[in-house]
């Protein structure tokens, strides 16, 4: 699995070696690539800071100010995550067909991706020790200086992590930008593949795109530095004070309202409009149900394959941490940060030349899903395995269980919920995947995303609306889960303490 995850890199290097350096250079250093490079870099350079400002600002308003309706706004700000970027793009472009170019790309990407910053930053804000802010205030700092001098530095890890995610999404997004005819490396690679099937030109573009991804990863790890911000001292944190907005209440409400309308209102209205326009006929289209079933089947298969591959990796990382397991893990995070299109292209080429029997098979598609979404399974699985500590398995052995029975009866049983969570995460991710599925799906296999894509590419906006609705419904549970994770901290702390009355018999007994 780890070796497989290096496939895209091997593929690009091998292609370059095969066509020779001069030819590779000619394919890389040409005006078209310069144009794509400018587009892509500008997109990232403008969208990421915008998402950061909106994400941090939104999190701060919700968590730390007297914003009216903070609870509802907190949920609203997370909800755009449930709308896949290409669905959002479809909604906007069918409402305003003239949308095109960098400006529109930035607008759509910002509306789709700012929750990726908002959610982790909000979680970090909720976890911050307000004592630090109080200390800064007691040392004569005003609220603005406290925010920039004390709060923001502590949010750096969450902010950087979120910004990296936004950047990687921008590099790998195909559908959203293709619909508004804004060319990035990813859309160009897909065009190249579609029009000429020209392997070498596409793979050189892939190479540049991979370098951009590496650059982002490097930039993020450099910016993150070695700093760790942890609460020093013990005891439970007191709830932070909220800053009173006073005269700023109205501007804040209006800004959030505008954001909410742009990110949620427009897609909802447009999709709703198309649903009404299409009427019952759109829902009874003959391939809607088969497509849904195929999607669910692929999502389940992809989930199972991914979880099965992720289990030993997580096991190694938790139970036997060492250089080897860390290397495996890192390789994996790098691969999965590679755009789906690069991976898909690599798999297409390799299967054609090495294992032709695999080309355009479900097995290859499932493999692609596993490589793309492995980290989504690793995170819950590692947490789950960490919660089934080795000491419990040892306790079972000390009570006379054979090692294998101890493993199955105790450890696997305890990891079961985490395994289900991992399966669900991958399932939902596969259900909404577009780019790799477009390239790799066997003939006749359609998913909600690919069917939606072909309908909206044919400008059958009404026909696409039911698919858009189903895609949003399918990503809603994951959005909800992520939202819960970012806000569950305070409630978890309250329920962790066992009932104090439960210890009464013990003290009575000793008396």
């Amino acid at each position: 699995m780890a070796a497989l995850s290096l496939l895209p890199l091997v593929f690009v290097v091998a292609t370059a070696a095969q066509i020779g350096w001069a030819e590779s250079a000619a394919l890389i250093f040409r005006p078209r690539v310069g144009e794509l490079f400018t587009n892509t870099v500008l997109l990232v350079a403008i969208t990421v800071p915008l998402c950061a400002v909106i994400g941090v600002g939104g999190a701060w308003l919700v968590e730390r100010t007297s914003l009216a309706g903070a609870g509802a706004w907190g949920a609203v700000l997370a909800m755009p995550l449930a709308i896949p970027a290409f669905v959002n793009s479809y909604a906007w472009v069918s409402a305003i067909p003239s949308l095109a170019g960098l400006g529109s790309g930035v607008l759509l990407a910002t509306l789709s991706y700012f929750p990726l910053v908002y959610l982790p930053v909000r979680a970090a804000l909720a976890r911050l020790d307000p004592a630090l802010e109080q200390a800064a205030a007691s040392l004569g700092r005003g609220p603005v200086r406290v925010f920039f001098g004390t709060v923001l530095p502590q949010l750096r890890l969450a902010l950087m992590g979120g910004a990296l995610l936004v950047g990687l999404h921008l590099l790998s997004e195909y559908g959203a930008f293709a619909l508004i005819r804004f060319d990035t490396f990813t859309t160009a690679i897909m065009d190249q593949y579609r029009s000429t099937f020209n392997g070498s030109a596409g793979s050189m573009l892939s190479g540049v795109l991979m370098l951009l991804c590496f650059a982002l990863l490097l930039l993020e790890s450099r910016a993150r530095g070695r700093a760790r911000y942890a609460r020093i001292g013990s005891g439970s944190a007191s709830p932070p004070g909220r800053i009173r907005l006073r005269g700023w209440q109205l501007p804040a409400q209006l800004a959030l309202l505008a954001l909410g309308i742009a990110a949620l209102g427009v897609p909802a209205m447009v999709i709703g409009g198309w649903l009404v326009y299409g009427g019952a006929r759109a829902w009874t289209a003959p391939d809607l149900v088969p497509t849904l079933l195929q999607t669910l089947g692929l999502a389940l298969g992809g989930g199972l394959v991914t979880v099965i591959a992720a289990f030993p990796l997580s096991w190694l990382a938790v139970r036997h941490p060492g250089p080897f397991s860390r290397l495996l893990e890192r390789t994996n995070y790098v691969t999965s940060s590679m755009p789906g299109i690069v991976l898909a292209l690599a798999l297409v080429t390799v299967s054609l030349f090495v294992v032709p029997a695999l080309y355009q098979t479900t097995a290859l598609l499932l493999l692609a899903y596993a490589l793309l979404f492995l980290p989504r399974a690793l995170v819950p699985l590692q947490a789950g395995i960490a919660q089934a500590p080795q000491s419990l398995e040892e306790a079972a052995q000390a009570l006379g269980r054979r090692p294998l029975r101890a493993f199955f009866g105790v450890t696997l049983r305890l990891v079961a919920p985490a395994t289900a969570a991992a399966l669900a995460m991958v399932f939902l991710a596969v259900a909404g995947e577009l780019t790799a599925t477009l390239l790799l799906s066997p003939i006749g296999v359609q998913t909600l995303a690919t069917r939606f894509w072909s309908l909206s590419s044919e400008i059958d906006f009404a026909g696409a609306a039911p698919y858009a609705t189903l895609l949003i419904l399918l990503s809603a549970p994951m959005t909800y889960l992520l939202f819960r994770q970012s806000t569950a901290l305070s409630t978890a702390a309250a329920s962790a303490d066992p009932d104090p009355a439960a210890s009464a018999p013990t003290t009575a007994e000793t008396a």
Binding site: L399, T506, T510
Partner: protein, 374 residues
């Protein structure tokens, strides 16, 4: 030091005595490594039938590794472990954990979070019929003084002390011949810790279960066990009755690890040491020369009058007693060979009124001291 331990002084094995023939557990010359680093260097330990041995040491001293080797979770590099008449670990011999008849309780109790209290306790009782199992669970809940209604609770509905009792009940359920306790009380808060410790000691003594307790808390080791083994850097540096290791530590490190110690420059002449506290008889074999003399703070008492005088520098009030730092005045008959020594020592006293700074006091040493090479 409890009355129980003082009362059983007659049974003190003299230091240096080899393993007794009745030893139930015999650890012989065990070495072990962890991640390429040697953590146990030739450990020997014998525990008698029904005895309670505390292995005490700072964190990282190797005490948990020793316990895990005895349990069978780790293999020794060399040496052997003999339990009863069977060699459970050694050259060519290996008995896996689940076939060793042991009970094992860790710091966090290690209760299975997905099972009720009753099913946790009955986890090792597969062979019994359901009725027998229920009866045994009820019996064990009584034994660890938990209400029988707790049987249907989940571990997360119990306090830390209760969870620990369930863990002990679970370990006792199979009537193991050897009970291994790995800091089982250290996660509990102070009041609960002492109470749980006493209850567990009583249960284990009544059941006659041979027990090894690993702890970093010296007062826990001294009060819980009838044999204390002090571990340092992977070696057992002293093994013996709690009273013996406390009052006759083999070196200054052991002395200071097991409790507060007053260490003074002294001149030894035969069995009498001359120091800033006057002449103090010592237990060591007679010798002459410059030494370090160790006394326990409780051996230095305040008296109405004495040639040994001191001035209180500082007192720290702890309620039942105060910790008092005093500066000893130079003795008129100070031994010239000691040179000019300024001595400040810390003692304990119950009367806070006597511990105000500037207060002049007279002192007396009771009992014998221990000397170490200077």
């Amino acid at each position: 030091m409890t009355a129980h331990n003082l009362g059983s002084l007659g049974a003190v094995p003299s230091p240096g005595t080899g393993p007794l023939p009745t030893a139930h557990l015999q650890v012989a010359d065990v070495t072990a490594s962890y991640g390429g680093r040697r953590v146990l260097h030739g450990v020997d330990l014998a525990v008698q039938h029904g005895g309670i041995t505390a292995v005490v040491g700072a964190s990282g001293s190797g005490k948990t590794t020793l316990l895990r080797i005895i349990a069978g979770f780790e293999r020794p590099d060399s040496g052997e472990v003999v339990l009863g008449s069977a060699t459970v670990a050694g050259p060519g011999a290996w008995v896996p954990v689940h076939r060793r008849d042991i009970g094992y309780v860790t710091q966090d109790g290690g209760l299975f979070p997905h099972l009720t209290v009753a099913r946790n306790i009955a986890f090792g009782l597969d062979d019994l019929s359901r009725a027998d199992r229920d009866g045994r669970v009820a019996e064990l809940l009584d034994l660890v003084a938990l209400p029988r209604e707790f049987a249907d609770r989940r571990p997360d509905q119990l306090s830390g002390g209760q969870q620990q009792r369930v863990a002990i009940a679970r370990a006792l359920a199979r009537k193991p011949e050897l009970m291994l306790l790995d800091e089982p009380f250290s996660a509990l808060d102070t009041g609960l810790r002492a109470a749980t410790r006493e209850a567990v000691a009583r249960i284990l003594t009544d059941a006659g279960t041979t027990t090894i307790l690993v702890t970093h808390d010296q007062s826990e080791a001294l009060s819980f066990a009838d044999q204390v083994a002090v571990m340092r850097d992977g070696r057992l540096v002293q093994t013996g009755h709690p009273f013996v290791v406390y009052t006759r530590p083999v070196d200054r490190g052991v002395a200071e690890f097991l409790g507060e110690a007053i260490v003074l420059d002294a001149w030894l002449d035969g069995s009498l040491a001359s120091c800033a506290l006057g002449y103090v008889p010592v237990r060591n074999p007679p010798a002459r020369g410059r030494v370090r003399l160790m006394l326990r703070p409780e051996q230095v008492q305040l008296v109405a009058d004495s040639p040994i005088r001191a001035v209180v520098q500082e007192g720290v009030y702890f309620g039942a007693e105060s910790s008092v730092r005093i500066r000893l005045e130079p003795r008129a008959d100070a031994d010239p060979r000691l040179g000019d020594v300024v001595s400040e020592i810390t003692i304990r006293h119950w009367n806070a009124a006597l511990t105000r700074p500037g207060q002049r006091v007279a002192l007396r040493v009771v009992g014998e001291g221990v000397v170490f090479p200077a």
